[in-house]
């Protein structure tokens, strides 16, 4: 029997069908409560949510506005809870029947992410497919990327002029993909510096990136048979303050006057400061970043710019490793599939008059 309290001549109907269940796809410690709105939802002030651990002693744990039939409660796992919801109007409260006991627990799979898992699996499968094809000897075409083609010329220019090469990997951390891609290019540039005995200046923003870069440069010199030519002081940490780093690199550009500047990696506001200062010294500049907001500055101030995924393709492009080229092909086919889905979705979205599209409602 529903409990109805009277205050004067005011009587309100309680909410019904209070149901609690373990919040799905989470790490536990949460119960979701649903209820059917009171028939007097239009006149009540709010709903009050009550909870009990034994089904007898209830305490108020929350409030929801009228028209809302959902509440999420923070709980302890593996403990039974009972809930009641009260419709409140002035001093009148109409309590619902108590809910069945419910417990929260942690899930081992977030089902909301299944679509992402499927998409990554399809994309990863494409990459592995093309890698297999590359392994079997299939020739894979990759278009010319001007910035990467210019690396040889840029290093040669510095060698002929007897000036150093400045390689700035940006202000990213080692977990940034752009920084990793930059370090791949650094390895190739270092090899050429070793071969041609060209001075390399490589200042760093992050100490972890510095330690990785140092080993990459050292190994690169060793791989071309010039371990003696490696100067440990050519790769060094400067500061992890954004504009202090920009000031330091600008100072290097103006003092050392490198013939070639590489600005490849993850950049933010300091990108234009670096690029313009480098341009003012007359150096040839090759830039590359995946930061869309900084690309216009590099395109304006630098001779060559690697845009977005061209930076990621650098390692494959320079080394011409079949496995890496296969991965590039997989990426490109992934883009084709996404483009096709976007076009198909856009066309379907325009055809709103057709009843079949109500399937997506």
């Amino acid at each position: 029997m529903n409990i109805v309290m009277l205050a004067g001549f005011l009587a309100i109907a309680p909410p019904a069908s209070v149901r609690g269940y373990d919040t799905p796809d989470d790490g536990g410690r949460s119960i979701t409560l649903e209820w059917t709105l009171s028939p007097d939802d239009g006149v009540i002030e709010r709903y009050e949510i009550y909870r009990s651990c034994n089904g007898v002693d209830y305490e108020k744990i929350g409030v929801m506005g009228r028209g809302r039939g959902l509440f999420e409660d923070d709980t302890e796992d593996r403990r039974q809870y009972y809930y009641k919801v009260a419709a409140v109007a002035d001093t009148a409260r109409a309590f619902s029947e108590p809910s069945a006991p419910v417990m929260s627990s942690a899930q081992w799979l977030n089902r909301k992410k299944i679509n992402i898992i499927v998409a990554v699996a399809v994309f990863g499968g494409l990459i592995l497919l093309f890698i297999q094809r590359a392994r079997r000897g299939q020739k894979l075409f990759v278009r010319k990327i001007a910035g990467l083609q210019a690396i040889d010329d840029a290093v040669g220019r510095a060698t002929e002029m007897g000036k150093p090469i400045l390689y700035c990997p940006g202000i990213g951390y080692i977990e940034d993909i752009a920084t990793i891609a930059s370090l791949s290019i650094l390895g190739e540039v270092a090899k050429k510096c070793g071969q041609y005995n060209t001075e390399l200046i490589n200042p760093h923003f992050d100490p972890i990136v510095y330690t990785v870069a140092r080993e990459i440069v050292k190994e690169s010199y060793a791989s071309v048979g010039r371990p003696d030519a490696f100067d440990p002081d050519s790769v060094y940490y400067v500061t992890d303050s954004q504009f202090a780093y920009a000031a330091a690199v600008d100072g290097i550009m103006l003092r050392e006057r490198p013939a070639t500047n590489f600005l490849v990696g993850w950049f933010r506001a300091e990108s234009l400061i670096l690029a313009e200062t480098g341009a003012s010294t007359g150096a040839i500049q090759i830039a590359g970043t995946d930061q869309v907001s900084q690309l216009p500055f590099f395109v304006t101030a630098c001779d060559y710019t690697l845009i977005g995924e061209e930076l990621y393709a650098a390692s494959a492009y320079i080394s011409r490793e079949p496995l890496l080229l296969g991965a590039i092909k997989g990426e490109d086919w992934g883009k084709v599939i996404i483009g096709a889905i976007i076009i198909a979705g856009s066309i379907l979205g325009l055809l709103t008059a057709f009843p079949i599209l109500r399937l997506f409602d």
Partner: protein, 220 residues
């Protein structure tokens, strides 16, 4: 072993980085939090020691060799030592064992940061406006059809955001906003799609050991 062990570490920790995205269980999330918040910080601290060692070595070598502008290396080293002592022993707001206050004059690490580092960073940031003007002057030339289109779009957008644009035509600000909202965003999204897929592919290649240039000495 020299190459296989790092590859194995990358594979294990790469997979450990992916799993928390799809498994919300506290055991997995707790492990992920430990790796990100604790282990990474410990690694960063050791790397910082190496980095600072490298910085000091470069400048001491410059002083020894009497390289160009070697006097400024002394400035850097002296500043580094003084700031480190104040930071280590003076506490964040002057609460350490070293007194960092003479009367009302404070020189604790927070004061140094707010009165030296922040203004210097702001000064560098302020240079951006001049560099932007200089870059725009060089870039916005009607050399070709595409350059002319760029120049026109830039001109319309610059006028559109000024009050003057509204005086010229009430439609100019909305047209400028349309350029920013439609063609500009369309271009950005195209690049972002490529970047996102490239990131996934590069991360997969590194985790699976296909991409090995980060090991040094080039790929396999």
């Amino acid at each position: 072993m020299k190459r296989n062990f790092p590859l194995l570490l990358v594979f294990v920790f790469g997979v450990l980085g992916i799993i928390p995205f799809i498994i919300p269980h506290p055991v997995v999330q707790g492990t992920d939090e430990f790796l990100r918040n604790n282990l990474l910080k410990i690694l960063a601290a050791f790397a910082l020691i190496l980095g600072l060692g490298s910085l000091l070595r470069v400048h001491f070598d410059k002083i020894k060799r009497r390289g160009q502008n070697w006097e400024y290396s002394w400035v850097l080293i002296a500043t580094f030592i003084v700031t480190s002592i104040i930071g280590l022993f003076g506490g964040v707001s002057g609460t350490g064992i070293l007194p960092t206050r003479i009367g009302s004059f404070a020189f604790d690490i927070w004061t140094i940061y707010f009165n030296v580092e922040v203004p210097l960073g702001a000064a560098m940031f302020a240079l951006l406006s001049f560099f932007m003007a200089s870059a725009a002057y060089r870039a916005f030339r009607a050399r070709s059809t595409q350059a002319t289109l760029l120049l026109t779009a830039a001109f319309v957008v610059m006028l559109g955001v000024l009050p003057l644009g509204n005086e010229i035509s009430p439609h100019l600000p909305s047209f400028a906003q349309w350029i920013m909202d439609v063609p500009n965003v369309a271009g950005q999204r195209g690049i972002l799609f490529g970047v996102a897929l490239g990131m996934i592919a590069t991360a997969l290649k590194i985790i699976l050991g296909i991409e090995r240039s980060w090991l040094g000495g080039g790929g396999e």
